[in-house]
Symmetry: C2
Subunit: 594 residues, 2 copies
């Protein structure tokens, strides 16, 4: 009875999909099911493009071969009707080389409308006329479009290959709980009132961090999980209240082991999903990344590194540079041809509030050997050539300089570098450059809060050599065993070697301003677990939605999520969130205060 | 650099696991990491059993070969210390055939304590002295025990093989949202207050039912997901507030296709996970199951079918039988030897409030050919033999009869049948009998609520032949295209062919007492989706936790969940749920009313 094993698509309703028939199937009688993509009706003949997930096959009905009723039925068809058609596979008179099934059509002998359809509110085509809001409201129709479906098929493949790779290295997938405990450290939690424990709440996990560490204490050795996580943050285009992580942890490892293992994962995914042999990942320290790219996630598809020219610009009477903490620039190859207007426009671009630069200085090395700048008043051609030499600039290039407070100006120049990279076509979506950023600072001081925060999370271990800074009170100098994987300027994953020593963990909580009581209330179980034999361990997590959008060459993660939420956290299709019954609230011992 | 590809366990901290060294590795210098399982210390010599997830390897230190310091360190070791040891693999003098590594030991040259450990509150052994509460509080220690870890390894394998099978049939795994909309139909929802939408709530899904149906409307054709679901119910041993389903849906199929496809999954899992070739699954209608087993999930590892004997017992002056709606019994083979005391005990057993029978009548066919019963006063030996004949009872058997209202007495006899099956050793955990129960009723009338409810869910399609009963108002007679897979008396999965017609779906909501407005408010998006070309579709869901516990031969699902909750819905390890900050509640616009 198990027909399924002969042909995976043989069912009682159809013999084939709409994507598989070829000229070799000629003269076979087949039954297809699908949606009407298009009808061409010339009265005596009707052609129907029938679509399913697997492709499109052309149906054909001729007046001379079919009954009046059947032809009338064919005339009644419209876009998106669900149809079942039986007929013989015949060779097409005019073939369509663009379609895999383009050599054949089905000479229909029987036709059944399984379900009619109203005209969709937007075109079910690769290029649609539907706006974002409309497409989200009718997401189930949007998902019929090939590019959207292809995104989710890609996602499935990335998940499968992730599992294949990790399974082959003896990682175990373990499901950790979704109803856990709220911890104020970090982003805002979503909470769930407990009916059985009045006045108490579960929280939805921002990550399975503590659970995966406990699994290491349990001796699970190698854990992973492709898992939903939740963060109640204000949303942006690439943020969703619920998102998916590839979450991993390993025992008895050093940072080197983790980097090698997950470099392996990245290369496996590129090989199996994209057919690309990714070169070995380079490594860059956080300090290096900040100094030469002004970012902890540099896009290294192109060079255009920062060059600092405080020395070269100093003491020439240009007060803006003389008074600046940092004078730094990039060399944009071949842009000496930029017109005054283009440079003005670029200057306005960096002065926008989003970037916030005070101004932009340029030095042009014209093709004819002359050198020009916006600060010719202060710098002689020799001065300018000395600066240009530091950039290894050549004729035809233009140097763009910013100055100001170190941290700020680096951020500004990072934006300018990325912009120039884009303008110069150096950031092609088909090109992939992946690398590690390592040696992140352990702590960062948040002025508004007046205290130190963990840059990664409170379980990240400091570099042993840097523990000396603790005694010296120089917390900002402590580097962590923390690392990010960056692809094309996107942080796709990050992690750390964890603290496995109870005393060090307690010290860390103290640095972060936890009282003993708070630390115990929130993480007592983890601290206690460390007393029973915790192994050295570490791990990382990949942002799965982002990884998929990167593989798909898209900027937003939304198109790689089947049913995403909008910027107000709403699912406009099902209209959630919504009000709930008074009875529900009463049972849960809660009231709304609005 | 990618050492990982040479030996998946080669890391900077260890060269091998504790499970892999054999006599062939003799004379190799190795480094192992793990937990101290046991120390045998005779002063001049110390043996240590070092444990990790992969096995146990014996370490050996001899006074004559190691420094005083090293020997002192070995003396200081205790259970569950985390240790790194380097040494040469040597052949053991006294081998241990029970251990895979039992032919060798490590002559330790270097030893490092990576982390000491307090003595665990219970033994980390296959048989532990820890009670349930203690083990749950220290779940991370409980998970170190081989049987518990093996359960989660089994779970990982079942998940992997499920994906392998479904992927091979072109199913796509699609993640559906966790933050959805509350629907009062069905069990209680867990809800999540929305900060960005004051006064509104998300609900956690009880199943992705509507989303998977929308994916069919989207043309996804074959969907699956191994997915967390949530139900705020009062808990029992085999219920958890969060649980995992294998959720599946297919388009353009009939019930027959679904049964074949998922019978295939069951057989694939038994083959790959248990090494068992499961025979083809038999099918049984709901009516048959109720009549012959008194249950919609009969355990068919053994026969002992119900036999109804109203005719044979009527009119002999026994008022209890004469007045009963149903007189029904089972034949317990070989139990005619039961003593008076045993029968009394059985009678008490069925009279307990959990079963609720009024009494128990027996008929014994003794080995010597005589026949005896507890109702000899009313029935002659010939009467009794006529009854026995209907059971095909033979010498040595005993017939057990119950009587009363049909539905109640069937339930009672189901319990007695299962009990007798257990007592007679007919329900071995190593034996597997799987089958389908089909043709469930569409609706059931709940007296307390005074209305009809969907037996499966409101999206289940009725059998077309039974639509006549709608007009006749005989709703109880309408059978559904619904089916359950039952293994060893456990419902492991169930599903239905769905309604794909908007008018029929509206009719169904009407039967269930929804006003148009309620139907639209709760399921408007689904009703609307049906207008845009919904294909015929159906599916099912397996209870993944239960499936794993079945494969593991256990009764409770709790041991197959890494971090389960107790009967009050508490995670006693992390102490969740818990109170949350006033600030959090304020941001969420909620107040607690206790």
């Amino acid at each position: 009875m198990a027909f399924i094993f002969k042909n995976v698509f043989f069912t009682m309703l159809r013999t084939h999909t709409c994507g598989e028939l070829r000229i070799a199937d000629r003269d076979t009688t087949v039954t297809l099911c699908g949606w009407v993509q298009k009808v061409r009706d010339v009265g005596a003949m009707v052609w129907v493009d029938l679509r399913d997930r697997y492709g499109i096959t052309q149906l054909m009905l001729e007046e001379k071969n079919v009954s009046k009723e059947l032809l009338a039925l064919a005339h009644s068809l419209n876009r998106e009707f669900v149809v079942k058609a039986t007929g013989v596979v015949i060779e097409r008179v005019s073939k369509n080389a663009k379609m895999p099934t383009g050599d054949i059509e089905i000479k229909v002998a029987d036709l059944e409308i399984l379900n009619p359809a109203k005209l969709p509110p937007f075109l079910i085509e690769d290029e649609t006329d539907g706006g974002d809001e409309l497409r989200m409201k009718y997401r189930y129709l949007d998902l019929r479009r090939n590019p959207v479906r292809a995104n989710l098929e890609l996602r499935h493949k990335v998940a499968r290959e992730t599992r294949n790779y990790l399974d082959s290295l003896n990682f175990i997938e373990v499901e950790t709980p979704v109803l856990i405990k709220s911890t104020p450290e970090g982003a805002r939690d979503f909470v769930v009132p407990s009916r059985m424990n009045p006045g108490e709440f579960y929280a939805l996990p921002q990550s399975p961090q503590t659970f995966k560490q406990l699994l290491m204490v349990s001796g699970f050795d190698r854990y992973y999980q492709i898992v939903k996580c939740f963060r109640d943050e204000d949303l942006r285009a690439d943020r969703q209240p619920e998102f998916t992580q590839i979450d991993c942890e390993m025992s008895f490892v050093t940072q080197e082991d983790i980097l090698n293992t997950f470099e392996g994962l990245a290369r496996h995914l590129f090989r199996t999903v994209k057919g690309i042999e990714l070169p070995e990942l380079t490594r860059m320290t956080y300090d290096h990344a900040m100094k030469y790219y002004g970012s902890d996630k540099p896009d290294i598809r192109f060079e255009m590194k920062f060059v600092e020219v405080n020395e070269e610009t100093k003491g020439k009477g240009f007060p803006v540079f003389d008074g600046a903490e940092l004078v730094v620039g990039i060399c944009a190859e071949g842009t000496a041809t930029y017109t005054r207007k283009q440079i003005d426009e670029l200057t306005e671009w960096v002065k926008r509030p989003q970037i916030g630069a005070k101004g932009l200085v340029y030095i042009k090395l014209d093709a004819d050997g002359s050198i020009k700048s916006s600060v010719d008043k202060f710098y002689s051609p020799e001065d300018l050539r000395a600066i240009a030499a530091k950039f290894n600039a050549k004729a035809g290039d233009m140097i763009l300089l910013l100055c100001g407070e170190t941290d700020k100006v680096r951020k500004q120049l990072n934006e300018l570098r990325l912009e120039m990279g884009s303008r110069l076509g150096l950031r092609s979506k088909d090109k992939y450059a992946a690398h590690w950023v390592i040696d992140f600072p352990l702590l960062e001081y948040i002025e508004e809060e007046g205290r130190w925060f963990a840059m990664h999370h409170p379980f990240t271990s400091p570099k042993p050599d840097d523990l000396k800074y603790v005694a010296q009170g120089e917390f900002g100098k402590i580097r962590a065993n923390a690392y990010d994987m960056v692809i094309n300027g996107v942080e796709v994953g990050g992690g750390s070697i964890r603290i496995h020593d109870k005393t060090l963990q307690a010290k860390m909580f103290e640095l972060l301003g936890f009282t003993d009581e708070e630390a115990k209330h929130q993480f007592g179980f983890l601290m206690e677990a460390f007393e029973y034999g915790a192994p050295p361990h570490g791990g990382l997590a990949f942002g799965f939605d982002r990884l998929c959008s990167l593989f798909g060459g898209a900027d937003s993660i939304r198109d790689f999520i089947a049913f995403p939420k909008n910027n107000s956290g709403r699912d406009v299709m099902i209209d959630a969130p919504s009000t709930i019954d008074a009875k529900q609230k009463k049972e849960l011992n809660i009231a709304t205060t609005v």
